[in-house]
């Protein structure tokens, strides 16, 4: 049984300029202890899809128009706020992109790691202090002056990588079943990125946490995820085990993405870019959202809605031409 099962989720924003269909009918599931990667460009709706599951879409203007997100027999979309609060931070945690701003500058990191325990586990201060200290140690927060000093540090005294470690400690201190990592390494130095990804992987193995890793970096996906879904213009275009996706991408968009990676080119060669821009989400898209930029698109692509269909074992794609065996 999947841990989280999202079905036909639509999150729309009702703005002055019209209805923005940020997430338009996506379905995915996460198995216990697995890592699901969601990859997509900025604005493709990958963050909104996950925020919707936690009831964190600002409303108004946001509204979840349809869909369900079953988590352990409970529909998160319909769950009342007190229930959601008892799940957030306890059973589903989240870490953010920018560790420089995601920690309270007025609280020591020790206090910040203790807080989820005090709120969710009803722990007393002494126990929470011990547990927080343990947690900070296991995420590798180092301080030459010893563990006491580590607890007493304020966020501004730590580097970006160290702060992200604190964020991970806060998110995992309550042993959640699911961790949503929203671009956890985007704001970090490349050398630190690898360390943080490694840490997430380690902690996941130790605690048996399932992870949803949201990123626009295919390299990050390759090293960490079991399965990947590719998101574009609020929809899923392709979903496959990581290996299959990298070795045999089916959807033209996924292929174009792979080609856009600088490592796919020879030195001195021009880098590949996908022509055009992602579509405006304010107007309804009749056919495949990628069709206007797709080299292989035909009339049918532009008119007929593209649905995910299995084209190989566990490998689904939304390209009608691939489904028809034409590509």
């Amino acid at each position: 049984m999947p841990l989280l099962d999202v079905d036909n989720l639509r999150t729309w924003f009702y703005t002055r300029n019209g209805v923005v269909r940020a997430v338009d009918g996506v379905s995915f599931h996460v198995e216990p202890a697995e890592t699901l990667g969601i990859v997509g460009e900025s604005g493709s709706g990958k963050s909104v899809a996950n925020l919707s599951c936690l009831g964190l879409v600002p409303s108004p203007p946001g509204k979840i128009v349809s869909g369900s997100a079953m988590f352990d027999g409970l529909d998160l979309i319909k769950a009342p706020l007190p229930v959601l609060r008892s799940i957030r931070g306890k059973r589903i945690s989240m870490i953010f992109q920018d560790p420089m701003t995601a920690l309270n500058p007025y609280m020591t990191v020790g206090k910040q790691v203790m807080e989820p325990l005090l709120v969710h586990d009803g722990m007393n201060r002494a126990d929470a202090t011990d547990r927080a200290a343990q947690m900070l140690e296991s995420v590798g927060l180092q301080d030459a002056a010893g563990p006491e000093a580590r607890m007493r540090a304020y966020p501004h005294q730590l580097s970006g990588g160290m702060r992200q470690r604190v964020m991970i400690a806060m998110a995992l201190v309550t042993n959640p079943q699911l961790l949503i990592a929203d671009e956890p390494t985007t704001a970090l130095d490349v050398t630190v990125q690898a360390q943080i990804l490694e840490l997430i992987k380690q902690m996941q193995q130790r605690l048996g946490t399932a992870v949803i890793l949201i990123t626009h970096n295919l390299g990050v996906i390759a090293g960490t995820c079991d399965r990947v879904v590719v998101m574009y213009a609020g929809r899923f275009l392709e979903s496959a085990p990581t290996r299959d996706l990298f070795y045999s991408p089916r959807h033209p968009y996924t292929r174009a993405l792979m080609d856009s990676m600088p490592s796919a080119r020879m030195p001195g060669e021009d880098l590949y870019t996908i022509p055009g821009l992602p579509p405006e989400l304010t107007s309804e898209i009749a056919g495949c959202p990628f069709a206007p930029r797709c080299a292989h698109a035909n009339e049918i692509c532009r008119r007929r809605p593209a649905m995910l269909q299995e084209v190989a074992r566990c490998h689904t794609t939304a390209c009608t031409r691939v489904q028809a065996g034409e590509l």
Binding site: L54, L56, L84, R85, S86, I87, R88, G89, K90, S93, M94, F96, D98, T101, A102, L103, N104, P105, Y106, M107, T108, G110, K111, E115, P116, V119, H120, E148, M151, R152, Y154, H156, M167, M170, A171
Partner: protein, 302 residues
């Protein structure tokens, strides 16, 4: 003996560790504040003024309403340290008694403004939406109410009463505080760490009290140090209208007002009360500045 020595050593080692254990914002702030000489000086001076105010009935050399009409306005001398006013009353005594009133008004009204203004502003700003609109429209309405008329109405209904005076002044001062705090909270609300607190499943109450308010303390403290002198002067104004302190009782504001009227003939009547007021305000500002710096962990040099 060696045993005792060892114990002594262990204690000596443990002591600093325990002293550093204070991890709360306030404890840390206190440590930092103690290193700021100006702020400590200001704090000590204020404590001294408060002590004087409390001990006034025992300290004052004369009764505050004891007149010596034959003496009239006399310059400072050995018997009257700060001189006497036109009715021959000892000015030093009157400054002491006036300080009681002024400090009380200052702190009480500021306390009201802090408590109500900060909470009100934080709730309006954080909850937002319709709640915010309604709360802030109430503030606008109260703002538009002429202060003097408001106080006169209060006095008519409830009679003359010092507590009422505090309340009336406090009731006006919190409005600006609420607006300042709301503005700060509106920008703070978008901060990632507040989102993070929501994601961690904390209640609104917890987020406001533990995450929002500590982060707006800087501007709050600065505004508070501005509020106290404001309040003291307001009290003088009300007393001048006959709504505040009643003669022969006095306050610093009243003394300054009276002194200003006769400053060409008897300058000491203006000089000494003004000195008392300005010295107190200086001390307050130093303490306020020190507190603001001490409360911001990022400002710490370490």
């Amino acid at each position: 003996m060696p045993d005792a020595l060892q114990n002594g050593e262990i204690l000596a080692q443990e002591e600093p560790a325990r002293a550093e254990k204070g991890t709360s914002l306030w404890k840390d702030a206190f440590h930092r504040l103690a290193k700021n000489r100006l702020a400590v000086g200001g704090g000590i001076f204020l404590a001294f003024m408060v002590a004087l105010a409390l001990a006034t009935p025992w300290l004052a050399p004369y009764a505050y309403d004891a007149q010596d009409l034959d003496l009239g306005a006399a310059p400072p001398s050995a018997t009257h340290w700060a001189g006497t006013d036109t009715l021959g009353r000892d000015l030093f005594t009157r400054i002491l008694y006036g300080g009681r009133i002024s400090l009380m008004v200052g702190f009480a009204a500021t306390g009201v403004s802090l408590l109500v203004g900060v909470l009100y502003g934080a709730i309006a700003g954080y909850v937002g939406g319709r709640t915010d609109s309604i709360l802030m429209r109430i503030v606008d309405i109260l703002y538009a109410l002429p202060f003097t008329i408001f106080v006169v109405i209060l006095m008519v209904f409830f009679g003359r009463n010092m507590m009422l005076l505090f309340l009336a002044i406090g009731a006006v001062q919190w409005l600006t505080m609420a607006r300042i705090v709301r503005g700060q909270v509106l920008s703070l609300k978008r901060a990632d760490f507040i989102d993070a607190a929501v994601v961690l499943g904390y209640s609104r109450r917890r987020i406001i009290l533990r995450h929002i308010i500590p982060n707006v303390l800087g501007p709050v403290i600065v505004y508070t140090t501005l509020t106290i002198p404001n309040v003291m002067l307001l009290e003088a104004f009300l007393s001048f209208l006959g709504l505040g302190v009643q003669a022969p009782m006095s306050s610093w504001g009243v003394l300054i007002k009276e002194g200003a009227d006769v400053m060409e003939e008897y300058p000491w009547l203006l000089l000494f009360p003004s000195l008392a007021l300005s010295a107190t305000l200086f001390a307050l500002n130093f303490l306020g500045d020190g507190l603001r710096d001490a409360l911001d962990p990022r400002a710490a040099k370490d």
